[in-house]
Structures are given as structure tokens and as C-alpha cells.
């Protein structure tokens, strides 16, 4: 076990990373992702802050692909002027986006308590 002090610092950093990840998914995209990468650089392997920074990067990269790539494909395949395209894109984007947000929320409270996602 490490000293209490570094633990606290790590939890703080893990929390910041999880928060940045959540913000990137909600009201502050891009900027928060840069912040997340900066936090990531400060962490060392096998620590809880590293874990949450990596998790945050993963969630956001996956979210970006799953949300934008798939939506773009839907528009490409369905056609911009077809109402059905928008039926799929809007419903899909809204619900899947929310699932990512809820997931990032859980990651945040786990970071607050200094835990990994599931223990």
C-alpha cells in the first residue's frame, strides 16, 4: 500500500479524469478531452488515476466512433433528404449518447471512491 497522501492525490486525479471524460461527453467536448489527455500524461501505470484516465479516453474514443461514425454511415446510406434517415439518426444518437453519459457517471462515482469500475 502507498502512503495515504499519494492515495489522496491519486483519487483526486482519478476524479478529475473521470470528470473530464464526463464533460467531454456532455457540455464541453474537445477541450475536456485535451484536459483528459493532459491528466493521463501525469499518471503512472497500475494506479487508480491511470486506470480512470485510460478508461475515460477509451469511453470517449469509443463514443466518438459509435456516435459519429455510425450516424454518418446512416446518413450516407440513408440519404440526407430521406425522413427515415433522421428517424434512425436522431433516435439512435439520443439513446446511445445517453447510455455513454450514464456509464461515465458511474465511472465518476467510482473514481470518487477510489475504485475501479467493478470490484
Amino acid at each position: 500500500m502507498k502512503s495515504v497522501k499519494t492515495d489522496e492525490l491519486q483519487i483526486k486525479r482519478a476524479s478529475d479524469a473521470a470528470l473530464a471524460s464526463l464533460l467531454n461527453l456532455t457540455i464541453l467536448p474537445v477541450i475536456s478531452f485535451i484536459a483528459l489527455l493532459l491528466i493521463h500524461r501525469k499518471t503512472q501505470a497500475d494506479t487508480i488515476d491511470h486506470y480512470h484516465a485510460v478508461l475515460g479516453v477509451k469511453i470517449n474514443v469509443i463514443a466518438a466512433v459509435v456516435l459519429f461514425l455510425v450516424s454518418a454511415l446512416m446518413i450516407l446510406l440513408g440519404g440526407f433528404d430521406s425522413p427515415w434517415t433522421w428517424v434512425y439518426v436522431i433516435s439512435y444518437f439520443t439513446i446511445v449518447h445517453t447510455i455513454f453519459i450514464v456509464f461515465a457517471l458511474w465511472a465518476l462515482v467510482r473514481a470518487w471512491s477510489g475504485d475501479r469500475l467493478w470490484s
Binding site: T94, T98, V102, L105, S113
Partner: protein, 468 residues
């Protein structure tokens, strides 16, 4: 159960669940009328079925809130209810008045009901959600006042906690804003403007206080997390609710003839309205993660978490979807509105009432939690109802997007009725999801009768998997 008078809640909860069943049966009828237009016509026209559906919803939620208050207030205040007899009397008055009103809707034409209840003396009928005869509205006020008096006296003469004070504020607000239902000016714009003082300031204002306090109470009980922490969250959640929600009323003033500044005010403040719901999810996740004990009532914990998430989804996300004026210009009064209305009401208010019922019913029946098998059935009903509600919402959203495109957005707009035919497939799917919701509800009721061995709270952690 610490105080005997808490058990009055049971009456209220049983009535609530009974009326919930009625609401859903009429929902299924409405859904069918959407695709088979002449179903039950002219015996039960759509508007009558809709009135029954929405009014039953409101009435059973009120029964639920009252039951919740009667259960938790004595315990929080550390004393018996101020006047148990009054609570029982009001129960019967409310139930009979409610039943008569619904029967009135179903048995005589609405115009006749307006006539025999002498609506012309003080016209309040015939507005969405406020269809009740004036005499029923007066009855509701009387019941609410007696209820608030009873609860208020219990709180003020007992131990005061943040939870009971917030709850009381919410309940008083509920009663006060309901008074606007008696104001029905001839001027249509004024009528609409103040109509929202009941509807919006209820669901996006004072009801949020009720919801947050009920959620906080159950979370304290099932997680054992420190009250101080929970109270801080509670304050900040309701602060955000009112700060955003009061001026947020403006998102209903875009297209009813009100001044243009509401476009900005309504958009900006209502865009903040998801914050309290977002924080409720964060709060619920956080305290469950930091729980100090594993309460044997797993179902109640599931309902509590579900409430937070689904309220965020239905009110927060689906509300935000159409709340900005440039978007609302196209979506106003379409199936998008119906989609949001369903998930928000279900996720926030239906679920919070089911949460407190789930937590308190076993206690009122003399055990800490329902037996493991009953809980499994209850959790099945949770998933069936919740998932089918997500699908109802998605199908209505699909219908709404198509409707907006064909009828409002396209260069060559289609008529309303022609558009409705184009989106029929979504209505069929919604009806299918609705039937699954009904099955979930039946299962929910069955869960109260499933027998099995009691689950006890053993020191720190025992999971129902181990006992089952």
C-alpha cells in the same frame, strides 16, 4: 415500522396501484384507437379515454405522494401522525370523489357532465389535464388542505429534518399552484399562460422537491449513508430544480402569443433543467456506491437507481431534445411531445412512487423486505415496464420525427391526417410495447402475493442470491 399510524400509507398505496392499472388499460385502448380509428366509437371516443388515462395518472400519483408522506413523516418526525382519523377520512373522500369523476367521464357525455355539475357557475372544465368538474377540483383542494394540515402538524411538532421540510415545501407548492386551475379567463392567451402555472410548475417545479425528498429518504434507508451528505445533495438538487425550472416555464410561451423575450428566456433556462435530473443520477449512484450496508430489499434499491436514471432520460434528455425554441418551432404539439411526456412521467413520478412502495410495503406487512422470490418477480416487472417504456418512447419519437418532416418541414407539406397514415407502423409498435408494459404491471401486482422465505438483514452483507 416504528409508528402505528404509518400503516395508513398502505391504504393509499393499494388505491394508487389499482388506479394505475386503470390508467394503463385506458392507455392500451388509446393506443388501439390510434390505429383502429373507430375502436369503441362512439361509446368511448378518444377524448374520453384520454381524459380517463391522464386523470387517473394524476390522481394515482397524488395517492402515491400522500401515502409516501404518511409513511415517512411519522418516522422522520419521531411521533405518531397528528390525526390518523383525518388521513383515513380523506382517503375515502378522495377515492369516492375520484371514482365518481371517472364514472362521470365514462357514463355521460362530457357536455352533460359540465351541465349537471354546473360548470357555468365557475367554469374550469375542458382544459387538458384539468378536465375535472369544478366540484371535484374543490374536493381536491379540500383533501389537499386536510392532508397538508395533518402532515404539517406532525412535522412541526416533531423532529424536523431536511427531508420532511423539503417534502412539506413541495406539497404546499403542489396545493398552491393547483389553485390556478380555478382561473379560466375568456382570453385564450391568458388562459394558456396561467394553465402552465399548474402543469409546468408542478412537474418541473414543486413535484421535483417531492421526488427528490422521497428518493433521499429511501436512499438513506437502503444505503445507510450519512444524513449530512444526503441532505447537502438534496439542497443542491432542489436549488437547481427551482433556479432552472421557474423561468424555464418560458419554454411553453413560445407560440401562444406571449412576448418574444420568452424565446430566449425559455430556451436558456429550460436548457438548464436537465441539471437537477442529472444530479439526481449522480447522487443516487454515489450513495449506492458508498453504501454502508446491503439492505435485503434489493428491489427497492433497483427502483431508486432506476428512478434517477429514467428521470434523467425522460425529463432531462427527452426534454432537452425539443426545448430550444428553434427546435420546438417544428416539434411543438407532435408525437415528440407525447414521447417525452410518457418517459418523463414514468421515469420521474411513477417510478419514485413505486420506489417508496417497494421500500415501505414489506415493512408495513411486518418484514424488512419481501422474500427473495417475490423480489425476483418484482425486479422482472421493473425491467418489463421500464424497457417497454423506453420502446414506447422510441416509437413515438420515430413517429414524431417523421411527422415533423412530412407535415412541417418538407417543401410540400402533407395534411395532418395523411401524415398520420404514413406513421401508422410506429403506432402499431407502440401498442405492442404498451401490451408488454401491461404484462409488467400485472407481474408487479403478482409480486405482492408470491410466497417464500423471509430475507433478513444480517449484519453487513447478505445478498438475496445467497438466500434464494
Amino acid at each position: 415500522m416504528k409508528y402505528e399510524s404509518q400503516s395508513i400509507a398502505k391504504l393509499y398505496f393499494i388505491a394508487a396501484i389499482g388506479l394505475f392499472v386503470g390508467q394503463i388499460l385506458f392507455g392500451v385502448i388509446l393506443g388501439l384507437q390510434y390505429v383502429i380509428g373507430d375502436f369503441l366509437f362512439p361509446e368511448i371516443p378518444f377524448n374520453v379515454a384520454r381524459m380517463v388515462h391522464t386523470n387517473l395518472l394524476i390522481v394515482w400519483l397524488l395517492f402515491g405522494f400522500m401515502g409516501a408522506a404518511y409513511f415517512l413523516v411519522p418516522e422522520e418526525s419521531e411521533r405518531e401522525l397528528y390525526a390518523p382519523w383525518l388521513a383515513k377520512l380523506m382517503f375515502w373522500i378522495f377515492l369516492v370523489a375520484g371514482a365518481l369523476t371517472i364514472l362521470g367521464y365514462l357514463l355521460v357525455p362530457y357536455a352533460t357532465l359540465a351541465e349537471i355539475t354546473m360548470n357555468d357557475l365557475l367554469p374550469t372544465m375542458g382544459r387538458e389535464f384539468l378536465e375535472q368538474p369544478t366540484i371535484t377540483k374543490i374536493g381536491i383542494v379540500v383533501v389537499l388542505l386536510a392532508f397538508i394540515f395533518n402532515i404539517g402538524m406532525t412535522i412541526l411538532t416533531g423532529r424536523k429534518t431536511v427531508i420532511t421540510l423539503v417534502l412539506l415545501t413541495g406539497l404546499v407548492g403542489l396545493a398552491v399552484f393547483f389553485l390556478f386551475s380555478f382561473y379560466n379567463p375568456h382570453n385564450l392567451v391568458l388562459d394558456k399562460y396561467f394553465w402552465w402555472f399548474v402543469v409546468h410548475l408542478w412537474v418541473e417545479g414543486v413535484w421535483e422537491l417531492i421526488m427528490a425528498s422521497l428518493l433521499a429518504y429511501v436512499l438513506i434507508k437502503v444505503t445507510g449513508v450519512d444524513r449530512e451528505v444526503i441532505e447537502k445533495w438534496l439542497y443542491i438538487i432542489i436549488a437547481m430544480a427551482l433556479i432552472s425550472g421557474i423561468i424555464g416555464t418560458g419554454h411553453h410561451f413560445f407560440w401562444i402569443g406571449a412576448p418574444d423575450y420568452w424565446q430566449w428566456l425559455g430556451s436558456v433556462f429550460s436548457a438548464l433543467e436537465p441539471i437537477p435530473f442529472f444530479m439526481m443520477t449522480l447522487f443516487a449512484f454515489n450513495v449506492v456506491n458508498k453504501r454502508r450496508r446491503d439492505h435485503p430489499n434489493k428491489a427497492a434499491t433497483l427502483w431508486a437507481l432506476g428512478t434517477a436514471v429514467m428521470a434523467f432520460l425522460g425529463a432531462g434528455v427527452w426534454g432537452f431534445l425539443h426545448t430550444l425554441a428553434p427546435v420546438n418551432f417544428y416539434t411543438h404539439g407532435t408525437q415528440i411531445t407525447a414521447a417525452h411526456g410518457h418517459m418523463a412521467f414514468y421515469g420521474a413520478y411513477v417510478m419514485v412512487v413505486l420506489t417508496i412502495i417497494s421500500y415501505s410495503m414489506p415493512i408495513m406487512r411486518g418484514r424488512e423486505a419481501a422474500n427473495a422470490r417475490a423480489q425476483v418477480v418484482e425486479m422482472w416487472s421493473f425491467w418489463l415496464m421500464t424497457v417497454s417504456m423506453v420502446f414506447i418512447t422510441l416509437f413515438l419519437t420515430g413517429a414524431g420525427i417523421l411527422q415533423v418532416y412530412l407535415q412541417r418541414y418538407s417543401e410540400d407539406p402533407m395534411s395532418f391526417m395523411a401524415t398520420q397514415e404514413k406513421v401508422e407502423i410506429f403506432y402499431w409498435m407502440r401498442e405492442g410495447a404498451g401490451l408488454i408494459f401491461l404484462i409488467g404491471l400485472i407481474l408487479y401486482i403478482i409480486s405482492f402475493f408470491v410466497k417464500g422465505e423471509d430475507v433478513k438483514m444480517l449484519g453487513s452483507s447478505v445478498s438475496i442470491e445467497e438466500t434464494s
